[in-house]
Amino acid sequence: MFRLAIANLVQNKTRFAVSVGGVGLALTLVLFFGAVFAGAQSRLTVYIDRAGADVWVSQQGVRTMHMSESALPAAVAEDVKSIPGVEEVVPVLYTEGVIEANGKDYIVYVFGVPAGAPLGGPERVTEGAPEPGPGEIVIDHAVASEAGISVGDEVMALGQPMTVAGLTSGTSTLVSSVSFVRFEDFAAARGEGQVISFVLVKVKPGESPVTVARVIEAQAGDVTAQTRQEFASEERKLVQDMSADIISIMNTAGYVTGLAVIVLTIYIATVARRREYGVLKALGVRNGRLFQIVFVQAFLTVVIGLVFGLGLTLALSVVIPEFNELIVLSISTGSLLQVSAISVLLAGAAALLPARQLAGLEPVAIIRRG
């Protein structure tokens, strides 16, 4: 039965290739969209992970960085430093702003970090200075490459011309990347009083960041203190919540298109072989057996289409960053399992229509009709 299903399916290789291509591309739509989001998510918390802070202190109620604004009186940094268990504090300024380079705008997370700060400065500097000097900025290599600029060139950031002092790696996503300027430059550009965005805290050896965070919240007043893990988790949740609706809409569109292509493919394959099915029925093969053949065909088309779609998405994840380093694609196991499970359901649904055709076949009539 299995061999008959395969023989029937691959008898016409062009048709089979086109079918698998159609199904594969429809599933690629779903996998690709998921991979773009997973890629963005994989780098979402890169600054939080690399900054070296055990605890992040922000304005009360502010638990995230992306699309968020936190304003704290500068004096909070000193208050936090005096709390038992705190070894080091670094005040930073932050905004989600725009860098203009070579006439093009790039959304960036800009951090203003004090010179020589033990926490929060640039990490993985691939070129140039390890931290920005006055009037300087350190940007991500992907933005520099995309804009065609290098160390020593000028960009507009925080409303003023700044010289690119260094390049970091691995902070860029489709939406943003991380840049660093001097704290004083940021404060002057912000233009309003003694305000900071976050206080980065390093706890003393042996101290629990969770405990220190709770003590900071209790003692510093009107602040939210989170461990690095809590802050990163809130950040991931924000992007998940923001993208959940759009992802479900896109996935539905991709799955429905995929289903239509699979139904069409299996239907065409079945109808093209109706004589053979007629002969099988005349020989006494029951409808159930024929349904199994159709389902195996649908299943094989979907599985091979899925492998093709996966291969194509993997190829895109290698090729696209060659042309645009800002797009990072990452295929998550969860996304792959979800697409695989839904694909099998699609195969089952796709087999229903041709199966009905087979049930209605009259052996003699079909042989007579040819």
Binding site: Q59, M67, L174, I268
Partner: protein, 367 residues
Amino acid sequence: MNLAIQNLLQDKVRFALSVVAIALAVMLILFLLGMREGVLRTSVIYLDHAPGSVAVLPQGVKSTSAGSGQFLSPETAEAVADVPGAERVTPVLLVMAIPELHGSKQVIRLVGYDDALGGGPWDMAKGREPLADDEIVLDRVLANKHGYRVGDPFEVAGRSLKIVGLSNQTSTFSGSFVFARKTLVESVALAPGSASVILVTPEPGTTTAELISALSAVPGTNVLPKREVMENDRQVVAGIFDQVIFLMVAAAFIVGALVVGLVIYAATIERRGEYGILKAIGARNGMLYRVVILQAALAAGLGALAGIGFAFAMGELVMNIKPQFLVAIQPSAVTLTIAAGFVMALLGAMIPARAVAGMAPAEVFRR
């Protein structure tokens, strides 16, 4: 023509399925383009409704899409108000906040405005505008989604505020607008008297260009026509969305072309006997190509028409289920999609055309 239609309609279920599959590919293209247009439109919905034709931004800032981290100082706001030719000056302070509502994080943009100067909600669904520093107007879609009503408390940035009104047209794909008195937002941002943008309306007799020229003398500012700022805002959002959307449109386009190819190929192979006879009696390949292309064009044409209908239906469905999304299908996108449908047909016809060309009359009969 007759041969093409007969060939295509010989199996009506297959033909219907093929039209549906092409329609879905076309729908996907049109829907994605409609989503993109909706996202771009809603990205400027506030500025579009705010007063004034000139925008005064902090130095070097061109857009309000991303936070600039910069504010216009109270002195700058005063200097702008004193510039001759300005009839109405509307300072606005914009701050992002992410409250967690029913376990889900919601992006909101707090708009701080002075009700005497404008810049507040333009279409109130219920209630009134805020009169005190603990009052807000919440977006109606956000309120409905989370069951908030006028009079309910709402927490932002660690403050408990009271909802005094609900506004229409203030929901976007990326979040919702929440309106408050400017003094409240100043206290949240720790930026007393500051503004993110000052919108200026010229006096009668003063042109926008004259006003921009006069305002440009105020230090620490970047003065632009409001339309230009809106275009910059759209560009920032387009920069994020376009690469992904266009790759998905390309994939949907190829799916459509493959479906056309598959259907016409199946129809052609099934009728290879007839094609063999035509070739044997002297029909040239050119004539057979025309038959194949005509079939492809018919399938793609019908598929494209149905796809346009599907796209509008899906747009309506999505906007009903998820009111924060605007799906705006433009006539230009419809034209583009119809053209894409026919290009799909031509590309799809290449596979069966090759099959027809490669057919040897005698061989067909032998098989």
